[in-house]
């Protein structure tokens, strides 16, 4: 019974990603969309904390939003999956509920 969480804000702007990570359960997926994709980048002041908190969840990022913001796939944290809108839909369909962290 897994949840798809979406986070649409940069973790440098709001606490949404951290709060989401604090509530996600093992086996959940957290999909970063819109400005939330900045949370997926490696080498930031938050990368270590995010990696430590996300041990038992899957992190994913919406590729169109990443490309829009000039983030190269090579700059993502290890283990972050990229999906397109079709992949976003699939994640929503294959998990049991969606929770959007606004």
């Amino acid at each position: 019974m897994a949840t798809l969480h979406t986070v649409n804000k940069s973790p440098f702007a709001t606490q949404a990603l951290l709060s989401c990570l604090g509530h996600a359960k093992a086996g959940d997926t957290i999909l970063m969309i819109e400005d939330g994709v900045y949370g997926a980048a490696s080498g930031t002041g938050l990368s270590d904390a995010l990696a430590a908190m996300s041990g038992n969840v899957t992190l994913a990022v919406l590729a169109p939003d990443m490309k829009a913001r000039g983030i190269d796939e090579g700059r993502l944290m290890d283990g972050v999956k990229t999906v397109d809108y079709a992949g976003f839909v699939e994640l929503a369909a294959t998990t049991d509920r969606t929770q959007n962290w606004l």
Binding site: T6, N8, I33, E34, D35, P64, D65, D84, Y85, A86, F88, V89, E90, A92, A93, R97, T98, N100, L102
Partner: protein
């Protein structure tokens, strides 16, 4: 799978409506159903027919209107949120004594019950907002 979608921010200022639109088109393309999209908070402003975005930018309202025309998606604007923000159909304008209405083709104004029903009748509910 049946998806219910909520758009809770207005056009252009937030990416919410755009992300919702791309999600909905992808869901339909994958063979899922999106029977209704509910517009709440500033999302009601997506439904104005008076917006004139620059020619080289997408026209958010027209995208939704075209999607509804093609797929029969029910675009519902919350009446309470719409009244606060001045989004009216002709019936509301007449009822409230306003001298104009501004709702776009394909959208309709209705109550919050439509949002709850959407939650009950769909398999997954997605909210796109701030």
């Amino acid at each position: 799978m049946k998806f219910g979608v909520v758009v809770s921010e207005g056009p252009y200022t937030h990416q919410a409506s755009d992300t919702a639109y791309h999600f909905v088109t992808a869901a339909i393309a994958a063979g899922h159903e999106v029977p209704r999209v509910f517009f709440y908070h500033d999302g009601v402003n997506v439904g104005t027919r008076l917006s004139i975005p620059p020619q080289d930018e997408r026209n958010i309202q027209q995208q939704w209107t075209a999607l509804a025309a093609e797929h029969g998606t029910d675009l519902v604007i919350c009446i309470a949120a719409a009244q606060r923000r001045g989004l009216l159909d002709q019936k509301e304008a007449d009822r409230q004594g306003k001298d104009a209405s501004n709702i776009a083709e394909g959208f309709r104004i209705s109550g919050l019950g439509q949002l709850i029903e959407m939650g009950i009748d769909t398999d997954r509910l997605m909210t796109f907002g701030d």
